[in-house]
Subunit: 232 residues, 2 copies
DNA sequence: TACCTCAGTTTGTCATGACAAAGTATTGAC
DNA sequence: GTCAATACTTTGTCATGACAAACTGAGGTA
């Protein structure tokens, strides 16, 4: 574990425990570095890390203050399944459809591939706490990762991508809303015309290769997106 | 202008012009630093800046590659008004209500202030391209900034905050959806029961002071949120 | 041919030193 | 007493040097 990360972790613990209160200034960089026996760049990097997470704020000529005792995590590239597991909401997945088919224009445009390129097309129904929560559609280029229904029933898509050595690094999401169609209302156990949250996402790996396109609808009555922002 | 920023800007221009294509590797840090006559930390910092914006990806032992020719801006702490101005969509604001009143429990909890603390409560109708787009409710603690209706008609709320010396640094947003009430449908020129996007946001300044609470509804037929993420 | 080892390349981490810029507090003059 | 100039504190930027860790590819061996 890098030294700067150890320092950041120690600072974070002090703040979370309340030993350095909100609004209080932390020790200046030079003294802190000396006391911990590390160099100032290392100390700066540790502080920078916490600043980026929204815990600290720096002011030249003034010092570094605590602004929030909890880490505000940046929006993460995780899948719904991961979020639900983390939230202890007992997710279950029903795979409604899984087949290899040529990419439609919509999918091809989103993934920046040629129309007709074979992709794995997946339709899943995601349950949480025994109730349906979301209807999910995904397209994964066949040459990126072959998938089976068994995998998908018990794991999140992003988990499968990662175990296949594929790491999503960049994604574009569009969040909107619309009314449920009859078919959607039926599988989601909502009334016809109920409001749904929609989210489409395209994710790329470090090499700029498109990994996944997703077009999902969530029951607005049971789900919302939470986003924490921090401006540098 | 800092040296590392000048280097980053030069690199960015090269990539945006396409002189360094997507997938291509850029010069290694040591050589680049020497050629530009700067130190390696400065070069690293410039590259780091572009990595954080999603243009470049680094791999130890391999090099630094271009993954996207355009900067993927992080989600910014801007207001809808600013977004619309930037998108050339001719925003107009109608102030429906503006009064000082004691904070409700909901508002007080969001702003982390005592219930009953005086806040300015604002209801606005935002138009874009001549059509209503969003119904916006805001609460600003009175001791943060006094506001008048004239200000709000011609400027975004965040613009006013900034001109008052208040800089939002951290915000939490929750995005959801629901059906329009009759009153909402009427002012937004939607049918009753139409799907609306909802967004609530609380913004804090660098000192951890809550600046603003907002609870807005957008016509889902005319608006959606776009979010770009980059991990790691 | 297939696999392993090892050298080379490139980024990751860390230390030390120095000066600049911005904000705060003190001191002095009027 | 008030205001302005000055000194001090603290973060921001930059240079130099060094070693570590991860990946690549060539070469040797079974």
């Amino acid at each position: 574990m890098p030294l700067y990360f150890q320092v950041a972790t120690r600072l974070q613990e002090l703040i979370e425990k309340g030993e350095i209160g909100v609004g209080a200034r932390i020790e200046n960089e030079v003294d802190l570095a000396e006391r911990l026996g590390v160099s100032r760049p290392t100390t700066r990097r540790a502080i920078q890390y916490l600043v980026e997470r929204g815990m600290l704020v720096r002011k030249r000529g003034v010092g570094t203050q605590v602004v929030h005792p909890k880490v505000r995590r940046p929006v993460e590239l995780s899948s719904l399944y991961d979020d639900l597991v983390a939230g202890d909401r007992a997710p279950r997945t029903e795979v409604l459809r899984l087949e290899v088919m040529p990419a439609s224009d919509t999918v091809a445009t989103a993934l920046e591939i040629a129309p007709g390129t074979p992709v794995t097309w997946i339709e899943r129904l995601r349950y949480a706490g025994g109730e349906p929560l979301a209807l999910m559609h995904n397209a994964i280029p066949l040459d990126v990762l072959p998938l089976t229904g068994d995998d998908l029933a018990g794991h999140g898509l992003y988990e499968l991508l990662r175990s296949g050595g594929l790491t999503p690094r960049i994604a574009t999401q569009v969040i909107g809303a619309r009314s449920a169609t009859s078919a959607e209302a039926k599988v989601l156990q909502e009334k016809r015309g109920a409001s749904l949250l929609t989210m489409t996402r395209t994710a790329w790996d470090a090499g700029g290769r498109a990994l996944e396109y997703g077009s999902h609808v969530y029951r607005a009555s049971r789900y919302s997106f939470e986003i924490n922002l921090s401006a540098g």
